[in-house]
């Protein structure tokens, strides 16, 4: 999509045609590549043929104008290119002549069967291939953003704050890994499917978090990654409409994204969940997130970690005022979450919810043992949370020490100032401390 060899505009101004082609690539490329991948078997050839179809479109449309149905034109052209490639491949192998001599009809028939199939299956097959578990999560996300979202290598590089050459290399290597492992286009069997879907969801959540946490870099571009993850999540949910974990993931990221606008103050400083102006939350995304929670409940069955996290996010979304938050329900959901996917960070969150629901002493019973977990002593949020609970339970001197420790550990300047001032407040409440 980067090379446009023709330069003489005819019916349509050049930049207008470029814009339309860019939009068409964004809308159609995943379908075209998915279908081509099923036809020719590998991603590299499929991507090359898809680009050929678009190059053909540029040349033709610049002469004759854009057809009424450009998507159909592109898909017909891609189909033609695929058939041509398969024939030539067969010819090279010497097979075509043999088959053509004996059973010309059968050859035609088989080709048609290969060429036309269910688009939803094609898209799902492409997603499974790009998110194949033999690839690292980084490689999976780069490949998926390029082939499924239709982003250019430069777009992907900019979003990940990584040089374009690194991303290009990562994509080439990922395709090579797939080819070497003889991974072909296929829909995983029923027994493989849950694990393969997990690998896809992992990529979507990784892309979303990359955008959502935004620990560094340009805000606008990071927000773009959230948008891509949402697009992917919606695609996957449309393709696997009765998978409760996929619905859970989509609900979770839509509910989290509903707060994007409220998460930063006028000077770019982070605003915590309980301090956010909730009128800024995106009602349409909240509505969608809650609707998917209802769908999960209607579908029944066991609830996975994404669906549980979505249910927790839903408790916040339902509270018009921070003080209306149903902390008892959140605590119960966290109790369930630590059981099915235990981690010290989930345990810390469970502690926070418990303190909100049942008081700081109940929270401290969960949080203080975490200081004995390897790697957690240096986690600034653990000290910050412990400090807050100790302060509320009246243990001001202990609280002060935890706030100072948190100030020491954090990488973020604003957070450090907050922790230092909270330590100073504790000292004022407990005048005997030095």
């Amino acid at each position: 999509m980067t090379d446009h060899p023709e330069t003489s505009p005819r019916r349509q101004p050049e930049d207008e045609l470029d814009q339309q082609l860019a939009a068409l690539w964004r809308v159609e490329s995943a379908r075209v590549i998915a279908r081509l991948t099923r036809q020719v078997g590998d991603l590299d050839t499929a991507e090359e043929l898809a680009q050929d179809a678009f190059v053909a479109a540029v040349q033709k449309w610049r002469e004759d104008g854009v057809p009424d149905n450009p998507a159909a034109w592109l898909s017909t052209t891609a189909r033609y290119l695929a058939v041509d490639r398969i024939r030539r491949r067969d010819t090279q192998r010497g097979k075509y002549h043999l088959v053509a001599a004996s059973q010309p009809q059968a050859q035609e028939y088989d080709l048609d069967k290969i060429v036309d199939g269910d688009l939803a299956d094609d898209l799902l097959g492409l997603i499974f291939m790009a998110c194949h578990p033999i690839l690292s999560p980084d490689a999976r996300s780069a490949l998926t953003l390029k082939l499924v979202c239709g982003l250019s290598t430069d777009d992907v590089a900019r979003a990940f704050l990584t040089p374009a050459s690194t991303i290009a290399q990562r994509i080439v290597r990922a395709k090579r890994t797939l080819a070497a492992a003889k991974v072909r286009f296929e829909l995983p069997s029923e027994s493989e499917r849950p694990a393969r879907l997990d690998a896809v969801r992992e990529v979507i959540y990784l892309v979303f978090n990359e955008g959502y946490t935004a620990t560094s870099g340009d805000q606008w571009m990071r927000g773009d990654l959230c948008a891509e993850a949402l697009r992917l999540g919606r695609m996957l949910a449309a393709l696997t409409p009765s998978d409760t974990e996929t619905l859970g993931l989509l609900s979770l990221i839509e509910l989290q994204a509903s707060r994007l606008r409220a998460r930063t103050g006028p000077n770019g400083e982070p605003v915590l969940l309980l301090d956010q102006d909730r009128t800024r939350w995106d009602r349409l995304l909240i509505h969608r997130g809650l609707a998917n929670i209802d769908r999960i409940e209607r579908l029944g069955g066991t609830v996975g970690p994404y669906a549980l996290q979505a249910a927790i996010a839903a408790c916040h979304a339902r509270a018009t005022l921070a003080e209306d938050t149903d902390w008892e329900r959140i605590t119960a959901l966290y109790d369930g979450l630590v059981r099915i996917s235990p981690s010290p960070v989930v345990e810390l969150n469970r502690g926070v919810a418990t303190a909100q629901a049942f008081g700081p002493e109940a929270g401290l019973e969960i949080v203080l043992p975490l200081f004995d977990v390897a790697g957690m002593q240096d986690y600034h949020l653990l000290s910050a949370v412990a400090g807050d609970m100790l302060c509320r339970s009246g243990a001001h001197e202990q609280a002060r020490q935890h706030f100072l420790r948190a100030a020491e550990l954090t990488q973020n300047g604003v957070e450090r100032t907050t922790m230092q001032s909270r330590a100073a407040q504790c000292a004022a409440m407990h005048p005997t401390s030095p």
């Binding site: 159609e28 009424d68 939803a120 949402l230 919606r234 449309a238 800024r280 969608r288």
Partner: protein
Amino acid sequence: MRYMVMHYQTQDMEDGIRPSAEQQAAIGEYMQEAAMSGVLLAGEGVASSSQGARVEVNNGKVRVIDGPFAEAKELIAGFAILEVDSLAEAVEHARKFALLVGSERVDVRRVVEFEDLQQETQ
């Protein structure tokens, strides 16, 4: 950015003639198609204007008029809200809808968002 894609009624719709099985299938196909693109946030269709009303305010005087309304082609038949990158992308989706469902006219309008209200310019 979000776009609202609106399609307009035909005289048949306004006359309460139910869409044919093919038309219904086409609409279903489009909804699945848009959902698979990952861009569809919401969408609804509306019944004929005989089941609706209009509120008109003239110099502070309010008049409520019951449907049906004469000018069928000026009446909205349904809308979809799409999350896309650009007007050009929204137009390609609207084109697909119009061709598949057989609409004579589809309007594509950008949804005003919070950020627009904060900026004085544009």
